[in-house]
């Protein structure tokens, strides 16, 4: 009977030891696991290098540069909302302004803003959706 108890004790002890080591391993792996931080998106400041002198000298250009800078650096970061498009509305507007000028660019930006709904993706063919389910929205109209 004593022998049986001894075997039972050894068995329980072994099982416990095994469970403990498993627990220790899981705690260790969870504690020291490499943590991946989301990369901070570095956003360029709106510029009109490729635009005409009118765009460079226009006071509205400076106002839009400032507004876009403040929105992207301080407001947008804290909203944390998901966008249906690959390029976010503010980034798209910025690129459109750089490419088409302030008036057309801001209208394109506002248009994307009012098009950004949860079901917008269904309007686009599969080729226009990236692997993460976002709509690919380049500013340029590329026919090639």
């Amino acid at each position: 009977m004593n022998r049986f108890k001894l075997i039972l004790f050894c068995f329980v002890f072994l099982v416990e030891l095994k469970a403990q080591s498993f627990l220790t391993d899981s705690i260790l792996s969870n504690s020291f696991e490499e943590y991946h931080f989301d990369k901070y998106k570095v956003r360029s400041v709106l510029n009109f290098k490729e635009r005409s002198i009118w765009n460079k000298m226009n006071p509205f250009s400076y106002v839009s540069v400032g507004l876009m800078f403040v929105y992207q650096r301080f407001i947008s970061q804290q909203l944390g909302s998901e966008c249906a498009f690959e390029t976010t509305c503010s980034e798209h507007a910025k690129r459109a302004m750089e490419h088409y000028g302030i008036l057309k660019g801001s209208l394109i930006g506002f248009y994307q803003l009012q098009s950004c709904t949860a079901k917008t993706g269904y309007d686009y063919p599969n080729q226009s959706i990236n692997n993460e389910g976002e709509i690919i929205n380049p500013v340029e109209l590329n026919e090639d």
């Binding site: 394109i108 506002f110 009012q114 098009s115 709904t117 309007d123 686009y124 090639d144």
Partner: protein, 258 residues
């Protein structure tokens, strides 16, 4: 007699040694071993007369999207244009990525090759996309639906979309085929319109809040009109590309680049 036998044996040995191992290339492609793939193909010197080396190199360029190198190689070595299967899958693969590069390949084939692509489905489809008067009867039924979709979009007028967007915000989207975001656009415009109306009604037109709300409403309303016209251009390109992509997919289905 013995010498002849020995010579035959030697020839067999040399020929088997100089051949490219296609199953090894398949392995390299399937396991995405790009550097090894490139090294293996470059391990055969140019002086080695292996027929299949050019084909494997061309497939490698296509697989890794080196289209300019691919076209340069085809121009330098027009013998590869005699291979119809290579032309079939290369045009199919190219068309998925670049329309202009596909046109270049068709041009190279007409200049230096046997003009095999002149009657191909891809060339006919490219012509069909550019010319409204051409008939689409040659298209198989699976592609016909995609072409009908493209044709429907091609016939849409920008001014109609703009006029509809002016009359009812968001209606232009319904016309151009972005129906899923109609409600969002409509609600945004109605909301800002109502806010602007209410603020003008309450505080007058010279009030700062009224100016601000009217400005925001104007921005959304005007962008709804201009965006509809701009988006229609994008949709036309999108549908054209989609149709050509389906043609390319039809042409190159079941073809693997190894």
């Amino acid at each position: 007699m013995k010498i002849k036998l020995l010579m035959v044996f030697l020839m067999i040995c040399f020929s088997s040694y100089s051949q490219i191992n296609s199953s090894f290339i398949k392995h390299l492609v399937l396991y995405d071993l790009n550097t090894e793939h490139n090294s293996y193909l470059n391990s055969f010197s140019d002086s080695t007369n292996i027929d299949s080396l050019d084909y494997f190199k061309l497939k490698f360029y296509l697989l890794h999207n080196k289209y300019d190198t691919f076209l340069d190689n085809v121009s330098v070595n027009p013998d590869v244009l005699n291979d119809s299967s290579l032309l079939d899958y290369s045009t199919g693969h190219l068309l998925k990525w670049s329309i202009s590069k596909t046109k270049s390949l068709i041009k190279i084939d007409s200049l230096f090759g046997m003009n095999y692509l002149s009657n191909s489905l891809i060339k006919k489809s490219l012509l069909l996309v550019g010319d409204k008067t051409l008939s689409a009867d040659f298209l198989p039924s699976s592609l016909r639906t995609h072409f009908d979709e493209f044709e429907k979009t091609r016939n849409k007028k920008a001014w109609v979309g703009g006029a509809l967007a002016t009359l009812l915000p968001g209606a232009g989207k319904l016309y151009i085929g972005r129906g899923k975001s109609f409600l969002g656009s409509f609600m945004v415009n109605i909301f800002y319109g109502a806010t602007a109306y209410e603020s003008i009604h309450q505080f007058g037109i010279r009030n700062t809040y009224s100016i601000l709300t009217t400005g925001v409403f104007s921005a959304f309303y005007l962008s709804n009109i201009y965006g509809t016209i701009f988006d229609l251009k994008r949709i036309k390109i999108e549908k054209k590309k989609h149709f050509l992509y389906e043609v390319a997919d039809y042409q190159s289905s079941g073809v693997y680049l190894y």
